[in-house]
């Protein structure tokens, strides 16, 4: 199975989108690119763009490898992706509002009610709670992969606290620093205004009547793997980066502790999971959250972005229903396709999957970060058999998908340049309007043949260029 390569057609010719880039690259001596790669490494280290790794020695900080060959997307192709993303995220927001209110989609029998109401990600506490602008997923990270010419699939929706956007911004900054001349030769859509869009989006969802809303970013703290991003975004937006103990609630109103006394908070861009938000409402042992926050939220006195309970819409068990959501809420056919998916809770699907484990990718329904999955074609017999046992024990915990031949992009590896598999995570902002910057974060699986692009599993990143017409 030969993968679609973003830069080269099957006959080796350079594709249109990469033509200017390839011409320019030929004029750059190898010694220069080698030096630029070293420079990038050094800069990322010095700036301290690192992420913490779970499960290794506490406090381990690692650099996410950055690759200097960009991933380039043609203008027309992006237009279609953008339309598809808008449609999908609007449907997902409509779905979230619906399942916590009138549940029309369940009444209409388009999605089996028990799959929603019996799902551990469904938050009964959110039933009947009205959130500003009926927006739940203010920031959505939609993972896309390409299998062939014009053939994009949505791999998964991330609607809780999607991360990675700081790498998108830093990668662009790095490319402009290393290769300023290419940006004058090619028309590359800018992405640097993302923090402005995000701030505008967050301000647009403050409770009504607040003239100058105070927006803060709530982080679990500096030992969280995405802490760099939290600090970075807060700084870029010029808002306070707060931890749970910076906030407190009095009379259903949220305040922050400042050197001048308490100050009211209107919108919280929270990068803490639902479970840890409020020890009075959710996990009692949470030291990261703010006691009383959920009551203030239900009383409509503060906006949380993303809303509580969005996990029901990006759960892998719900993924298969997204095309139906789009038809139901938008009255349109989905522009972006889902990857065909088998549900192991269904006997027929399970039978097929268990017979074809060596060809399929099997994922845990609630898992994330590339943990707890089986990639059949690259796994040993023993690995497959041990996974089979796990599936048989709790089949409802798994879904399976065909091993897509993810597209590849030329990437610097130890012995020069070689194709490596990539995906794409655009960030879609929903508030008064839906907005996004062109492109997103391209992640690359640096191991030869590997399809796992997660940074926690040794993936790297690339700058993503959407060409302007």
């Amino acid at each position: 199975m030969i993968a679609f390569d973003e830069m080269h057609a099957a006959d080796g010719a350079v594709r249109d989108s990469y033509r200017s880039y390839a011409e320019w690259l030929q004029t750059i001596p190898e010694a220069v690119t080698a030096r630029k790669r070293e420079e990038a490494d050094l800069l990322f280290h010095r700036i301290g763009i690192t992420f913490a790794v779970y499960g290794e020695d506490a406090g381990t900080e690692r650099l996410i490898p950055f690759d200097i060959v960009p991933r380039i997307i043609a203008a027309q192709e992006w237009q279609r992706i953008e339309q598809g993303l808008r449609q999908r995220v609007q449907a997902l927001n409509a779905f979230l509002h619906d399942v916590y209110h009138d549940q029309e989609i369940l009444k209409a029998g388009r999605i089996p009610a028990p799959q929603v109401l019996g799902n551990s990600q469904y938050r009964k506490e959110m039933q009947g709670v009205s959130v500003a602008g009926k927006i739940y997923a203010h920031v959505a990270g939609i993972d896309l992969v390409r299998a062939g010419e014009g053939e994009y699939y949505v791999l998964e929706d991330n609607l809780r606290t999607p991360s990675g956007v700081s790498y998108m911004l830093e990668d662009r900054k790095m490319m402009m620093r290393l290769f300023p001349e290419i940006f004058t030769r090619m028309a590359i859509a800018p992405v640097e205004h993302y923090p402005d869009l995000l701030l505008e989006n967050l301000r647009s969802v403050a409770q009504q009547g607040v003239a100058n809303p105070n927006v803060v970013l709530l982080t679990p703290g500096q030992f969280n793997s995405a802490y760099f991003e939290h600090a970075f975004l807060a700084q870029q937006m010029g808002i306070e980066l707060v931890e749970g103990n910076d906030l407190f609630v009095r009379d259903d109103t949220v305040f922050m502790r400042t050197t001048q006394g308490p100050q009211r908070v209107d919108v919280i861009y929270r990068r803490i999971d639902d479970d840890f938000l409020d020890p009075l409402a959710f996990r009692k042992d949470s030291v990261l959250g703010v006691p009383g926050l959920f009551n203030a939220y239900r009383a409509g006195r503060v906006t949380l972005a993303n809303a509580v309970g969005t996990g029901i819409a990006d759960d892998k068990a719900m993924y298969i229903h997204v095309p139906e959501m789009i038809r139901f809420y938008c009255g349109e056919e989905p522009i972006l396709s889902n990857v065909p998916t088998w549900e192991l809770s269904k006997a027929d699907d399970r039978k097929y999957v268990l017979e074809h484990l060596a060809e399929l990718v099997v994922k845990e329904v609630h898992g994330s970060g590339g943990y707890g999955m089986l990639v059949g074609p690259t796994s040993s017999k023993a690995e497959i058999e041990s996974f089979r046992a796990k599936i048989l024990a709790t089949p409802g915990n798994y879904i399976a998908q065909p091993t897509l031949s993810l597209s590849t992009c030329p990437t610097y590896v130890e012995n020069g340049i070689a194709p490596r598999h990539i995906d794409l995570r655009p960030y879609v902002l929903s508030g008064k309007e839906v907005s996004m910057v062109p492109g997103g974060l391209t992640r690359v699986a640096l191991k030869e043949g590997s399809l796992v692009v997660n940074s926690s599993q040794g993936g790297g990143t690339k700058d993503t260029w959407v060409l302007e017409n």
């Binding site: 700036i47 409770q207 500096q222 600090a231 980066l241 103990n245 009379d251 400042t258 006394g261 308490p262």
Partner: protein, 341 residues
């Protein structure tokens, strides 16, 4: 500004200043120990240094004798000693990391670099290139951090909380350095103006970068009284107690806030006493007694800074809410008494 941000800024500056001052203290003790022993008791200087830093118990629990090598290891690179240079730099960097959005990227990069270097030095041992180059390095990195702050930061409360940490820590350290050396050098007081004085007090002056200033100010022999006057009362000496307290006093007035009146009053009192104090008066009372009292008051000021700016909700007076804009009435009712629990 967020109380926690101010807290981190303050401790970031205090920790870096502490690393620098520990290096200065070790440096002067080391220099003194190279001179002819003035007392029969071995390791006298090192013992005195530990006791004035309040760390002798911790030291004795884990080391045999207060030899130069042991004390320098303990004070410079011992990971278990919270006051070691290694841990001070680590703490400065951790505090900076927690608020990297609030400081300039140059500041963060410099501190991060200092920490990465410190870890390398720690692995090799500080004596690898000789201890003096290590002390010089610590001082230089501290100068760099302060210089970058000075050259890049907006003059707002971020800058003020940093400076507050620097000067409070420096006042504490100058008082300690003076106290420990005075204690060691006491026996030679009768020998005023002798060669020993020149070397001993000269070493002390050098450790606080004041040797040249002393010469310029007094143009005379080095005597203990003048050294004490220079380091306590001269407002134009950047490490003197008066200079530090003048800064602290100015900063707390500029930061101000709804609860800072007691802090402003106490720092003003201390700075005023220094400004109008005389060296004869201090010696009449006893220098050690004077410095002990000063250290206690510095400690109390630190406490007051905590409760004034870095307050917790446990001690929240109702009055603090009176100036808040009235919140819009809440659409659904929740018991507010329950929320106050």
């Amino acid at each position: 500004m967020l109380s926690s941000t101010a807290d981190h800024l303050y401790w970031m500056a205090r920790s870096m200043e502490r690393a620098e001052n520990t290096a200065r203290m070790l440096d002067v003790t080391y220099r003194l120990s190279l001179l002819k022993q003035t007392v029969a008791e071995p390791h006298h200087e090192w013992r005195a240094m530990l006791s004035i830093s309040g760390l002798h118990e911790d030291f004795e629990a884990r080391y045999d004798e207060p030899s130069a090598e042991n004390v320098m290891h303990f004070m410079a690179q011992d990971e278990k000693n919270p006051g070691s240079i290694y841990n001070s730099i680590s703490s400065a960097r951790e505090n900076a990391r927690a608020i990297r959005g609030a400081i300039t990227s140059e500041m963060w990069e410099a501190l991060n670099h200092t920490w990465l270097e410190m870890r390398k030095i720690h692995d090799k041992g500080i004596a690898d290139d000789g201890v003096s180059p290590f002390f010089e390095w610590v001082k230089a990195r501290s100068h760099l951090s302060r210089g970058i702050a000075h050259g890049t930061l907006l003059r707002d409360d971020t800058f003020r909380f940093l400076r507050l940490g620097t000067f409070l820590e420096r006042a504490d350290n100058t008082a300690r350095i003076l106290d420990v050396k005075y204690h060691i050098l006491l026996p030679s007081l009768s020998d005023v103006g002798g060669a020993a004085d020149y070397y001993h007090w000269g070493a002390l002056l050098r450790s606080v970068s004041s040797f040249e200033s002393y010469r310029k100010v007094y143009r005379d022999l080095i005597t203990p009284t003048r050294v004490a006057e220079l380091l306590i009362l001269r407002p134009d000496m950047p490490r003197s107690l008066t200079a530090c307290m003048n800064e602290v006093n100015r900063l707390v007035q500029e930061i101000n806030g709804p609860r800072s009146s007691e802090l402003v009053r106490r720092s003003g009192l201390l700075s005023g006493e220094l400004r109008y104090g005389s060296i004869d008066g201090i010696f009449a009372r006893g220098l050690h007694e004077y410095l002990s009292d000063f250290l206690e008051r510095i400690y109390e000021l630190g406490d007051l800074i905590n409760t004034t700016y870095f307050w917790s909700t446990d001690e929240l007076p109702a009055a603090m809410f009176s100036s808040l804009p009235a919140a819009a009435p809440s659409p659904t009712m929740t018991s507010s008494s329950q929320m106050m629990a």
